[in-house]
Symmetry: none
Subunit: 191 residues, 4 copies
Amino acid sequence: MAKPEKRDEIVRAALELIAEHGFHGAPMAMIADRAGVGAGTIYRYFENKDLLITELYREVEGRSFPAIMEGYVPEAPVRERFLHLSTALLRYFINNSLEFRFVEQFHNSPYGVEFRRERLLGKMEDRFVYRELFESGVAQGVVKDFPLPVLFALALGPILAVARDHILGFIALDDVLITRTIEACWDAVRR
Amino acid sequence: MAKPEKRDEIVRAALELIAEHGFHGAPMAMIADRAGVGAGTIYRYFENKDLLITELYREVEGRSFPAIMEGYVPEAPVRERFLHLSTALLRYFINNSLEFRFVEQFHNSPYGVEFRRERLLGKMEDRFVYRELFESGVAQGVVKDFPLPVLFALALGPILAVARDHILGFIALDDVLITRTIEACWDAVRR
Amino acid sequence: MAKPEKRDEIVRAALELIAEHGFHGAPMAMIADRAGVGAGTIYRYFENKDLLITELYREVEGRSFPAIMEGYVPEAPVRERFLHLSTALLRYFINNSLEFRFVEQFHNSPYGVEFRRERLLGKMEDRFVYRELFESGVAQGVVKDFPLPVLFALALGPILAVARDHILGFIALDDVLITRTIEACWDAVRR
Amino acid sequence: MAKPEKRDEIVRAALELIAEHGFHGAPMAMIADRAGVGAGTIYRYFENKDLLITELYREVEGRSFPAIMEGYVPEAPVRERFLHLSTALLRYFINNSLEFRFVEQFHNSPYGVEFRRERLLGKMEDRFVYRELFESGVAQGVVKDFPLPVLFALALGPILAVARDHILGFIALDDVLITRTIEACWDAVRR
DNA sequence: GATGAATGAGCGTTCATTCAT
DNA sequence: CATGAATGAACGCTCATTCAT
């Protein structure tokens, strides 16, 4: 087994275990086991558990970006672009529930606090598109004039909530419901 | 120190420590210490740590109910009632950040999963008012016809998000911003 | 078993194991085992392994003092006093080989370095008597005018060496040989 | 890089690291690194770490021999020869502090015990000269009639002690002090 | 009823050694 | 021959839980 494959196996195993059982339920030995790797091997790729988790987070965070940018038309009207991004994001969460649950775990953990600010300021890739979108929306007078974090809350808060509920089996989001939900989010941010 | 006082001290200490440092940062010995109680004493009131935490959760969950019900007029129009409840809830979170942070921690933890269903079904006190409100709103045609979890997501998702951001110091919610944010949430759910 | 007894058992077990097998050969679990105590119990008495070892050292270092001071006559001539102290010290080492070997291990270890200075400056109890003795000896012109560390080296270097050899079974020190050896040490320091 | 050079690099690296940081601070990987060699390569030259260290010891022990023999006159009087050897040895220790510190570490470690006997019996090169010297000294009646280990202790114990103190910076040995110290050692062994 | 000393399973991490390349 | 990635046993340490007092 070549080098990058082992790293990937470790990352995948950590993602799975943390998504399924939380940070408590993912000891290094268990991650190693699930990755088909010796316990010490993890430390060849990651200095310690904290760094494994934060690197995993960065990796996972980046993965949604291409998904939401596919078919994105920067010249389209703000509303269209909002609907596109948000629909794609919700779909991505639903179709990648491991990633979604890991990220949720991460955000509500000691690790996540330091990452919050950069997310709020729209410094991460996917947030950055949203940021630009909101800023031009506000400038054009089609989006309510709120501080960025409030707009993020209005747009993404419900998306995260319904994604969570869907993944846990409390609702079944189909195409129609997704579309309507995203449109309701638009109602929240639009002027 | 009489019996119920000890129990209360333990609960208070656990709330504080978990809110401030997360579940990791709140060993039983530390909780006992902060409560001014012997380590073994906790086990006279709570069978084990899990039960301490879930009981603490139930208690904390119930506390917001009186706060949001104060001045609530069941006969008022749906919109008015929604604005009242949501504003009161957001204010409660902001003014009781320990409780808020604990509940957030709880929801994103192995403990929280089993509690989600009853929340989603509006079985907890405060959710129950919301549930009735949404149901009558839908019946009257003033609220979008969504499954309950989606309405909860649209209404409460942003509230939780802005409360979090406020408590962490990323935004400063004043009366005006609170009102406008809640009105935006109404835009999301109203027809 | 009452509290101080457990602490003493731990200290004794650590002393034995380190004396017999060196620092490598004395894992915490083994110390706990030999002390008849749970592994975690050690940490109720000592914050960590380093502190267990340095506290053990301080304790052991102090033990030789009463032994060498017994029958010490501060008014006696320098030579007499030197012979008394050194003989008593060598006897103490021989009769307490665990302590001796532990201290030897300690001095030649990362732990020991910081303690060396205070020993050299005669700041420890037993060294302090020697220091006074040498200083008055130099003042009276009966001891060679050397820096203190050199006098310590001349007096104690051979004592440590023969104690080591005796304990390891390479020589058999009897009363006559002890006396003659100490007198030879006096020859080294006397004018 | 040819074979013997690699071996030398490994030996040098091990010497440096152990002298500087002790046995704890010299993992095989670090030795390999410092030697500019792969970790596995060490095992082509040394069966395991213990053997690397003991071989290193034998090598280092031998190095002082030429230094002390330079200018040694076997026909000179015992006193002269003693002063020559001991002065040269002390100087060697001071000028080769890495070797000195390694050897000290070694002696006070599980490794060192088995080597003590042959040293005490004067079976190693440099000890052998001393042994002969002492034996002829005793025969001539100019050296005290002690068992060999006691004579070694009286002569070398102080030398090791002052070398240690000098290297650690607690005293500054200059030519005068060296000479006087060695003469004091002679006082200890001479009749 | 209350205590807190004692416990030991389980954690994250290190490192001497092996072996496929 | 040389490599260095991989290994896993063993380490120091934590903490939920128990139980003698």
